[in-house]
Structure formats: C-alpha cells, structure tokens
C-alpha cells in the first residue's frame, strides 16, 4: 500500500527565533535607556582603535561596556579593559557572526542598571553579521579607506542594513597609496541605503572623531 505524498505549507521564516529574541533584548535595553551599538567591519578596518577613541570621547558623558566577539582570542578585550571600561569576551567558537542568543549571554555579565552605552564588537566579516539581528539599538559599520570604494558593490546587504557608516583611516586619502574616492563611495552607499549617516574620520589622528561623538551623544544618549 502506498501513502500519497502530502504537501505541507510550512511558511516559516528561518531566522524567526533569532529575530524574536533580538526584539526582546532591544525592548529590555530601551527600558533601561541603554544604547547598544553593533559594530561591524572586515578584519583590520580599525574597530578596536575606533572603539578606544569613542570611549575616550564619551568618558565623562556615559557609563560604557564592551562585548567582544573576536574569534577565540582575548586580545581585544584586554586592550579595552586597560581603559577601565568593562569588557566581556564571548568565545564564538569559530562562528562567522554573533546572534541574539550569544549577545544575551554577554549581557548577563553586565549590570544593565548602571550602563548607558554598550558596544558589541562583532566578528570581523562583511557578510554574515549583516544577516543576524543582535538586538542592538544601532547598527554601525566601519569601512576603512585601504579597503576601497568598491565595497558596496560586493557587500550590498551590509551597507543596506546599517544606520551609520564610519569611513575610517581618512589619513590615507590623497596619498599615493590609494585612489579611494569618498564621493563615489557615498553615492554607492546611498543607493543601497538613502538615510544612512556617514562619518569620515581617522581613528589614528583623531580627525573627524568629534562629529561622530557629538552625533552619538545627541541622538542616542
């Protein structure tokens, strides 16, 4: 006897569980008036130096903490800890991205009643972190000048999901080492995300950092 093949309408979003948990985390943070920044970039774009500059600029304005997700290493967490800011290291076990469940683990180690701003330093990668909502209240990506102004053509999803784009290492602009065109980059990025906030700066020299810090303090703290 043969049983007939049945078609079952599943109609489920594969990422639904993650999106639900991310939404819950976001509500919890908003109730505590906490801004949580999901910081994404490729490896070497300057996430840690940018974080150090931002922490320095907001030291008197906000109580801060950092959730670090560098793959199986504590190097970045140690660098951040030296500033006196609490840093929680997540071991992602080789995962290419953070998801809401991993961020929830990190938040368990933080005192949410005594914080204004949490940074998540996501895994260095312009592909996977774009797909997974972490529960952050602000998505920020860094593109550094040496990476090139063609990156929106290669990683459109990442550029389309961020609230803020930091163009880092502007001290390279106008040098023989790069032909990066800021206007070309901006046009491409706005094609993917017309309302994105763009800040061009150098975490190394500190040029342009002030605009970012005042925007963050005014709009998110």
């Amino acid at each position: 006897m043969t049983t007939e093949l049945k078609i079952i309408k599943v109609k489920e979003n594969i990422l639904a569980d993650n999106e639900t948990l991310a939404g819950e985390l976001r509500n919890r943070l908003r109730k505590n008036n906490i801004c949580m920044i999901n910081l994404m970039s490729s490896p070497g774009a300057g996430k840690t130096t940018f974080l150090l500059r931002t922490i320095e600029g907001l030291r008197d304005k906000a109580r801060m903490a950092v959730i670090e997700a560098d793959i199986d290493s504590t190097v970045d967490a140690e660098t951040i800890s030296r500033t006196g800011t609490k840093a929680v290291q997540l071991q992602t076990g080789g995962f290419c991205h953070l998801d809401a469940a991993m961020v929830e683990e990190g938040l368990k180690n933080l005192d949410l009643d005594n914080l204004d701003l949490i940074f998540i330093e996501n895994v260095g990668n312009l592909v996977c972190p774009a797909e997974f909502d972490t529960g952050a209240t602000l998505n920020v990506m860094i593109l550094s000048v040496p990476e090139g102004d063609d990156k929106p053509l290669k990683y459109p999803l990442m550029f389309s999901t961020c609230d803020v784009l930091i163009v880092n290492k502007t001290d390279y602009l106008g040098t023989p080492f790069t032909d990066f065109d800021l206007a070309v980059l901006e046009k491409r990025v706005r094609n993917l995300n017309q309302d994105i906030n763009i800040f061009a700066l150098s975490s190394k020299t500190g040029e342009g950092i002030g605009n970012w810090i005042s925007w963050l303090a005014t709009n998110n703290l």
Binding site: L5, I7, I8, I14, R188, L192
Partner: protein
C-alpha cells in the same frame, strides 16, 4: 558562510512539522531565499545531507527558489529588478533618480513548504 546554523534550523523546522502532521518520510523541502543573501545552494545541500542522515528527512531534496532583488524608486515609485553586483550603481529606469531606493525584496530566508508521506 553561515549555511550550517541555517541548515540546522531548516531541518529542525521540517522535522517539527512532520511530527505535527504524523508523517514518517520527508521527500523535499522548498525554500525561498532572497538573492541579496549569501546562502549558497551547494553548501545548504552539503550540510543538509550531513545533518539529516539519521532522520526521516535523509535523502530529501532541497528545492531553492531564488527571490530577485526588487527596488522601488522613492521619487517616481517605479519598481525595478536588479542584481547584488549592480544595485549600488543602479539608476531608476523610469526617472533616472539615484540614491533614492527602497529594497522591496531579496532578503528572504523562508521555508515555504515540504512534501512528505
């Protein structure tokens, strides 16, 4: 690059639906995946075969329907289909506007249906 956790979720969802409907063999699972995502069919299949081998979904076929990237021009409301590679340099085919698009589709991560006995 993250096909493994995604495939785990697909299998878990399919098995739950099979149990709910009292079914004993899953023959195929149809997915709707947006062109803007980075999921590769080859790796979805590879991980699915590996993860499902001792389950009622062993040998099931993954049918991947790709959903195109569709943009809407916020100036003249025209819709146009584009590709991942072209969208950052796209112009509205009707009014020529740039930098004024909304993304209507292309990010789908969806289990549509499955065939089972």
């Amino acid at each position: 690059m993250h096909e493994l956790p995604v495939t785990e979720k697909i299998l878990e969802t399919a098995l739950a639906h099979a149990e709910q409907h009292g079914l004993s063999r899953i023959h195929s699972i149809t997915l709707k995946i947006g062109e803007l995502t980075d999921l590769e069919d080859r790796w979805l299949n590879h991980y699915f075969d590996y993860l499902s081998k001792d389950t009622i979904a062993a040998g099931a076929h993954l049918v991947v329907i790709r959903v195109p990237i569709v943009l809407k021009c916020n100036v003249c409301q025209t819709r146009c289909e584009t590709t991942k590679e072209k969208m950052a340099d796209e112009k509205c085919p009707h009014c020529g506007a740039e930098q004024r698009f909304s993304i209507l589709s292309g990010r789908e991560y969806f289990i549509e249906e499955m065939a089972a006995k």
